[in-house]
Symmetry: C2
Amino acid sequence: MTINRTYTIRQLTKEFDVTARTLRFYEDEGLIAPERRGQTRIYASRDRARIILILRGRRVGFSLSEIREILDLYDTHHDGGVTQTLHARKKFEEQLHKLERQKIDIEDSLVELKRAITLIDDAVAKGVLSANALHQVAAE
Amino acid sequence: MTINRTYTIRQLTKEFDVTARTLRFYEDEGLIAPERRGQTRIYASRDRARIILILRGRRVGFSLSEIREILDLYDTHHDGGVTQTLHARKKFEEQLHKLERQKIDIEDSLVELKRAITLIDDAVAKGVLSANALHQVAAE
DNA sequence: TCTCTGCTTGACGTTGACGTAAGCGTAAGG
DNA sequence: CCTTACGCTTACGTCAACGTCAAGCAGAGA
C-alpha cells in the first residue's frame, strides 16, 4: 500500500531543492493538485511521487507540457477505451525513442569529454601542451 | 588533414534542420565565427564541426553559455599556462559529471516507460485494463 | 496584544533562445 | 529589365519557466 503521509510546501521545497513558487506554478499548470486545509496546501504521497517524476523529467530535458502529457497518461488512459489506451502506448513509445536518441548523444559527449581530459592529463604529465592533439578532439 | 570545403548558410540550415536566424544568433553569441565574402557568410569545416557540437550540446540540455564555455576551452586552453589548462580540466570534469547524472536519469526513465508499455500490452492482450497495476508505475 | 513565521493570492519582471517582419543589396535566369 | 532566390542588418515580439515584489490572513509564542 501507499504510504499516507502528508507534506507542507516547505518540506517539499527543502527535500527537492525547489522554491515554493515552483510548486505553485506546477499546480497552476495542472501538474499536481494538492488538497487544501483552508487555504494552505496539503501535499499527499501521490503529489510527492508526481513531483519526483516532474523533476526528473525536467532534468532529462522534457518540457512541462510533455511532462503533463505523461502524467495525464498515467492518470487517465485506463478509464478510456482501447483507442485511448493505444494512443497512450504510442505516446509512451515516442518518449522512449526520444530518450534513446538522447542517451546516444550523451554517450558520445561522454566519450569526447573523457578524451579531452586524458589529453590534458597526458600533456601536463609530459610538460608539453600539444595544441594540435587537442584541436583534434573538437574537430572530429 | 581536415577537409577544406566551405558551406553557405542555406546548406547548413538544410543539413542540420535549423533556421538561418539560429546560425546568425549563434554567431552573435560568439559560438561560431564564419568568414565573409563581402557581407555573405562563408562557413568552413571548422564552423560546421562546431555547429555539430552546439546542436548535440543543446540536445543533451546544455545552455548556449555552457556550450560556449566548452568551445572556448577547446580553443584557448592550450595557449594559457598550466593554471589555465587545469581550470579547463576542471570544467570538463564538471560537464562529465553532469552528463553521468543525466544518463542515470535517462536510464531510470527508460525502465519506467518500458514497464508502462508492457503493462499496457499485457492488459490489451488479456482484454483487461488494470488500473491498479498501471498506477503502480507512476507511484513507485 | 503584538509580533513573528509561514502560507496565500495576484500581478508584473526576467532570462534564454530564438521567431518574425521590415527594408535593402546582389547575382542569375527568362 | 524584371523577377526570383538568397543573403544581409536592425529591431521588436514571443514563449517557457519561473523570480520577485506587494499585500494580506492565521496561528503560536512573549
